[in-house]
């Protein structure tokens, strides 16, 4: 064996290099698209990206309450002004300008490109103008005459009003003291948009800190309280929730684990050694993933760290076998095959993840494989050199040895043991049979407590921005292509509204017509002389002063040569948010989303849709993506199990030996899943990853048992199993107490899985040898 000091230096240098690489070059990404199958439809892809990065993910709904309306309104105004000036926010609206002056000016300014009246025949003929002037005259005599006059000189044909009638949302919050309030008039409402995308949690967090700061500075009365909600806020809060759970629980579990290790090893140095292989494994895994993929996904890191949990046990396999007279190196040699197989089975199980077609799962596979290989190598080559000479773990208490290791406890026959195991497993499966097995609802993956989701729903309701469930998606090769296609479905949608299969729709082409349509509308504009002549003919016999319409003639003349309307024209207004929310894409992949309101008959709607337009049921879509991910994971891991079996059969040089090791553990995993389902907890991807970990750990236990049985060393076996299962139970048992559903799912699954693995392995592997039974 290499000299310990030289080995220590090599390990230290490699570790330092890896850490330097992690600190400088590893980039963490959180693009959910990585967890979509490579064959996911473009719709699914954009849907997912939009969900994480799009305009909707940046919108923050803010609510101020706890004081009289006047104070709330004053606070709302100050806060809105402060946010508008803040670098963290791109847009803010508190209703002060409502469908405001800015938006109105933009629509009025582009009215001849936006109005669909110009698509009709001869929109500025004398006859058409006469109809318009008659209408204007009547309106001027009406009670709304004063408001009507505002558009008279520039827009006698009423284009602005026509456009507004089509696009102004039916529901907006009411205004009190000039700003938005909820229906009960107790809370002022604001809508803001962060500059950072919803998935950029660090910058979202900074924006929320700025929001809290500005609120504190704007507060008109100390009793005023602020609530806010957004996709980003929910993500930030869920991260904080997981972090706080993880902090408390990991402190507690670290204390528990250290207590067990210290009880077993009675040496600070040895306890510290236990942490080295797992830490090096994680480090190595991160470096490899980053080298291969260019970045590492947040989810890979989280799940990967979980899957590497079993490597924490590797040192204990070695250390618990050290005894007076058996040095660390000799113990290493004794457990060599068990350790090698433990590492290789996990690595082979993860190998299947590489070929599933999900980049996210492939990363997870690479991290796990590299991690266990490094941790195994560190345990095998590095650890023994650092274990102090003459050191050995404390002997387990006599009562424990008596209870678990006494030959008298093995009275039960092999077949009755098998029967008990089979009945237990079948019972659990039968109890689970009629219950739903899988939970693919994206919402139940959310780590947020129900109260936080309810608050978000309430704020959305108050703001008149309910969650859209149904939408149409239209794909195109370019922005122009997709806009032309969008314009083409208007008539179908209008028929659907008339047939009452939908209540309404929101077409991006109403805000941003295709260039072709804009060009056509521009062509419909007459030159000033023709327009003046038509106007004179139209006004004949009406009490209008013709000169009053000179601004109209000028506006039409200007519109004839105005540049096309582009998305950029809407910068700084609510309309930009609108357009960005409905139209996205780049290069040759563009997509328009058409939110639908009040869908009462989706199948009738689907029948009238032209080909290439898809009806998207957001909830169904998210669920189908989750189930695709889950199915792929199940598929990959089945292949993984075959590989694990092959490794075991090869390593143990025995087909039946492999069955003996893997059988009880598979049975334990199935029983664990069935118990969870039977208890009313359908399995999510998190449970599934946890079950994979359970199999990884369980196989190691079974290997320890099988190898101990071969050596007839039951005391040594229980010494090892007491330490490794004790630390695992403390860690995952505490995790089961977490508030975040992710952590809870992993904790509870692994806990049950470990207990069942131990129980079933004891029943099925640790059976009395045939000779003993005969005697």
């Amino acid at each position: 064996m290499t000299h310990p000091r030289r080995l220590g230096v090599i390990v230290l240098v490699l570790t330092a290099a890896a850490m330097a690489y992690v600190a400088t070059s590893v980039s963490l990404d959180s693009d959910y698209a990585a967890f979509l199958p490579a064959g996911a439809s473009p719709t699914q892809r954009t849907f997912m990206t939009e969900l994480r990065e799009g305009a909707a993910s940046r919108v923050v709904l803010i609510e101020l309450g706890g004081a009289a309306p006047a104070d709330l309104a004053a606070t709302s105004r100050k806060l809105a002004a402060a946010l508008a000036a803040s670098a963290d926010f791109r847009y803010v609206n508190n209703g002060e300008s409502g469908m405001g002056e800015r938006e109105l000016a933009l629509i009025a300014g582009h009215r001849y490109l936006l109005s669909d009246r110009l698509d009709g025949p001869a929109p500025f003929s004398a006859a058409a103008l006469r109809t318009a002037l008659d209408e204007r005259l009547e309106a001027l005599s009406g009670s709304a005459g004063m408001l009507e006059k505002r558009f008279l000189a520039n827009d006698p044909t009423g284009e602005t009003r026509r456009i507004l009638g089509r696009i102004v949302p039916a529901k907006a919050p009411q205004r009190i003291e000039g700003v938005w309030f909820d229906a009960t008039a107790t809370h002022a409402l604001l809508l803001a948009e962060t500059r950072a995308s919803g998935s950029d949690l660090a910058r979202q967090d900074a924006a929320f800190a700025a929001l809290a700061r500005e609120f504190a500075a704007s507060r008109a009365a100390p009793s005023i309280a602020m609530e806010f909600s957004s996709a980003g806020a929910m993500a930030v809060r869920s991260r904080a929730l997981i972090a706080s759970d993880a902090r408390t629980l990991s402190l507690a579990s670290m204390a528990g684990v250290l207590a067990i290790l210290f009880w077993a090893y009675r040496s600070l140095r040895v306890v510290a050694l236990c942490a080295i292989p797992a830490a090096l494994g994680l480090l190595g895994g991160i470096v490899t993933v980053n080298l291969l993929f260019g970045s590492i996904h947040g989810i890979t890191l989280a799940f990967g760290a979980t899957l590497l949990g079993e490597s924490v046990d590797y040192p204990s396999y070695l250390l618990t076998q050290v005894m007076p007279g058996v040095s660390a190196s000799e113990a290493g040699a004794r457990i060599g095959r068990t350790l090698r197989l433990a590492v290789l089975t996990t690595a082979c199980g993860a190998l299947a993840l590489l070929f599933g077609g999900f980049p996210g799962l492939a990363q997870l596979g690479v991290l796990t494989i590299t991690g266990v290989l490094v941790a195994g190598a560190a345990t095998w080559w590095v650890l023994p050199s650092f274990v102090p000479r003459q050191w050995s773990p404390v002997a387990p208490p006599a009562w424990l040895v008596r209870r678990v290791a006494a030959p008298g406890r093995q009275r039960m026959s092999r077949w009755s043991r098998r029967a008990i195991a089979a009945v237990a497993a079948l019972g659990a499966v039968a109890a689970a049979w009629s219950k739903p097995w899988w939970d693919d609802d994206l919402a139940s993956m959310s780590p947020l407590p129900a109260s936080m989701k309810a608050q978000d729903a309430r704020l959305r309701g108050a703001m008149g921005a309910p969650d859209v469930r149904f939408a149409l998606t239209i794909e195109g090769r370019s922005r122009e292509d997709v806009l032309v296609k969008t314009e083409a479905i208007r008539s179908s949608l209008e028929r659907a509204v008339a047939a009452r299969s939908i209540a309404g729709f929101d077409l991006v082409a109403d805000y941003l017509p295709s260039e072709a349509t804009q060009a056509r509308r521009r062509q419909a504009l007459p030159d000033p002389d023709v327009l003046r002549a038509n106007l004179a003919a139209a006004a004949d016999g009406l009490p209008f002063r013709l000169q009053a319409f000179e601004p109209f003639v000028e506006d039409v003349a200007r519109a004839r040569s105005a540049p096309p309307l582009t998305q950029d024209a809407y910068e700084g207004s609510a309309l930009r948010l609108k357009v960005e929310g409905l139209l996205h894409g780049a290069g040759s992949e563009w997509q328009v989303v058409v939110p639908l309101a009040g869908v009462s008959d989706s199948s009738a709607l689907e029948r009238v849709l032209p080909s290439g337009v898809h009806l998207l049921d957001m909830r169904a879509e998210a669920t189908s993506m989750m189930s695709a991910y889950r199915k792929q994971a199940v598929h990959s891991s089945s292949i993984g199990l075959v590989l694990i079996f092959a490794v075991l059969a090869f390593g143990l040089r025995s087909f039946t030996g492999a069955c003996k090791v893997l059988g009880p553990i598979l049975l334990a995993a199935v029983t664990t899943g069935a118990l969870l389902i039977a208890a009313g907890e359908p399995l999510t991807v998190f449970h599934y990853v946890a079950l994979l970990l359970t199999i990884g750990i369980g196989v190691n236990y079974a290997l320890v048992m099988a190898s101990a049985q071969a050596r007839d060393d039951r005391a040594g076996m229980w010494r090892t199993l007491a330490v490794v299962s004790g630390t695992a139970l403390v860690t995952f048992g505490l995790l089961a107490l977490a508030h975040a559903p992710v952590l809870h799912a992993i904790g509870i699954t692994v806990c049950i899985g470990i207990v069942l693995s131990l129980a079933l392995a004891t029943l099925l592997i640790d059976a009395p040898p045939a000779a003993e039974r005969a005697g």
Partner: protein, 196 residues
């Protein structure tokens, strides 16, 4: 302002004494007009409104009736040239015309809210309702008063430059609305028998 009050009281006393000596009563305050109005439970009147609009060669003349019921209900029935019924209850305005019925929240439209309050607030005798949008000045005497409303906000001032309301005791006789564009309207109001 509190600190100025004693002095203002002294000023007023001096003025009253001086005017009393001259045989004239003291200058009219808005409250002197509004307080008696605040005791009227309901009122019904006919009106004739003449709108002078720059874009038109002839004024538009509208006729109809006005009905107020304390505290916040105002109905305007237009008989000609176009039949319409405008009803404001609290913050909701309902307009029934040839184009159907439209309902808007007046708080959403400050200019509309100000125009509504200039009439309703005066009929209600509610200085706070008027003071929300206008500075109010009174002149004349109780038997022939005049209120001048000037917009408080610049937003309102871009639409309306001044509203003048004239009346006698608890009866409004005339409302002049001067718009910032130069257009104006004159509404003449006469008491009418209560409509069933």
């Amino acid at each position: 302002m509190t600190s100025l009050r004693p002095r203002r009281a002294v000023d007023r006393l001096v003025a009253v004494l001086a005017l009393a000596a001259a045989g004239i009563v003291h200058a009219l305050e808005p409250a002197d007009v509004l307080t008696p109005l605040s005791r009227v439970e309901r009122s019904d009147a006919t009106f004739e409104e003449t709108r002078h609009i720059a874009a038109l060669t002839a004024p538009v003349v509208r006729r109809g009736s006005l009905h107020y019921v304390r505290p916040a209900e105002l109905t305007m029935v237009v008989d000609s040239p176009v039949r319409e019924r405008l009803r404001i209850v609290g913050g909701t305005l309902t307009l029934e015309g040839r184009g159907g019925t439209r309902e808007i929240r007046i708080t959403d439209m400050p200019v509309v809210a100000a125009l509504v309050e200039s009439i309703r607030g005066t009929l209600a005798g509610d200085p706070a309702a008027l003071g929300r949008y206008f500075t109010v000045r009174a002149s004349g005497e109780a038997a022939r008063w005049r209120l001048e409303l000037t917009p408080l906000t610049t937003e309102l001032a871009t639409a309306v430059s001044r509203i003048t309301i004239e009346g006698a005791d608890t009866q409004i006789g005339r409302i002049d609305v001067n718009e910032s564009s130069g257009d104006r309207s004159v509404m003449l109001i006469a008491p009418a028998a209560r409509k069933p």
